[in-house]
Symmetry: C2
Subunit: 244 residues, 2 copies
Amino acid sequence: MDQNSLPPIHTTARDDAVLKALVRFVMQEALEPGQKLPTERILSDRLKVSRNTVREALTRWEGLGLVERRQGSGTYLKAAVSPDMLHLPLTLAGGNDFTSLMQTLEIRRALEAEAAALCAERASPADIAEIERKLDIMEQAFRTLDGMSSEEDWEFHQAIYRVSGNPLFEQIIAAMHELFHRFWEHPLGVRDFGHASFPYHRTIYECIAARDPRGARAEALKLIATVEDDLKRGAAKLKLSDLR
Amino acid sequence: MDQNSLPPIHTTARDDAVLKALVRFVMQEALEPGQKLPTERILSDRLKVSRNTVREALTRWEGLGLVERRQGSGTYLKAAVSPDMLHLPLTLAGGNDFTSLMQTLEIRRALEAEAAALCAERASPADIAEIERKLDIMEQAFRTLDGMSSEEDWEFHQAIYRVSGNPLFEQIIAAMHELFHRFWEHPLGVRDFGHASFPYHRTIYECIAARDPRGARAEALKLIATVEDDLKRGAAKLKLSDLR
DNA sequence: AGTGGTCCAATGGTCCAACCAATTTCTGCA
DNA sequence: TGCAGAAATTGGTTGGACCATTGGACCACT
């Protein structure tokens, strides 16, 4: 008998109940990111639970980046909430060393390739025009600055994620991007970092415009490969300087 | 003037300090996942902070899946901790409807393909033998039960993630698997769900054994494609029954 | 009108002491 | 020896208190 499907009842779920009530409240009041939530004392009073319980619930939301608490000011909504949210807490061991960056890149390669393929399948003419616009801006910045501009580059990739039609791509990559933000900009002291990846932006775009998922996937893989090479070059350089 | 070079100062950080002390403790004692942490009362006493503060710190860790609290028993470590951990809190809107499952599958397709390719590149002979063992068990279960066994199937895929050499794959997929696990087992009432995906498990293994990353990637894509087809069939079925 | 200073109420952060609820451990009887 | 019930342990909750920071109100002076 499969008794594993039986016991998911938690008679006590005080703080969870608080969060559920908060979701209801936020939706009812149509609160948007940036707006202020009721104070802890008011919540504690209205929900008939102790203020500590309210605090534990809010602490969880704060940990999930849903909310920001400012002492003396209040608690502010930081992201949109919906009744059926999925929380995917990821804790990555290891910091900013070469290995961690490499592992992150492998994840990005996986998602980037898939997003490009989906994008090639689903992009509307308007979407394609939008991506081309971002591409033009990026290429312009590349020429004037004589190098990759991480800002415009990022916008180009974001556009692809968005057009892929699956918001999860953008969310996952955005979270990683925020984490490694500093290192994706000036990683390991390689001066012309990302230079080699430049031409593949256009080839990816062309595959998308031609509705060629396989091609888009392949070009995306090539792009990340060049970034990985840059990273390895940077690591080798560091190793050399360690010997001095 | 560049006033951006004046970053906000952060004076107080009680609960953060508690977490840092806890990291130090865990490493010093070489605690491994599954082992018990000191009780809240002891921590509160030793660290000279209130039990509430300890609780808030532990609540954060619990939210990150680092720790599990069992009332009446204790607080247990659930994952390895290191001083430089990076937390990636993802909150995804969307629930258990068809669209969400489909989007999840697209993420899984991306990661599965990449993991299979990496696995084909890096697997040692021992790794390959281990994967073959899991494959045999799965095929055995398939024949005796006349259908996919999600447990053994999951073990097979987990082995691939592990051999890929990048722990992020396993972590991300495991988190998603935990979220959707009810639906990955009995999705949408399709009785022979996953049946069609069966042969591709062996073809993936063969590509890995042959050190063929491209082939492994392609076979993994095919496998997920069959699952997507099953899902679409299930959705169509539901739509029909809605009309009655 | 603007600048700086002071005060004060609101709000999140911390603390304490107690009790509740689930779990584990111990005890004593059969 | 076996096991049911008591006792200790441990996380969960409560209510109340005080501290630290914030932001607005008010005021004096320029």
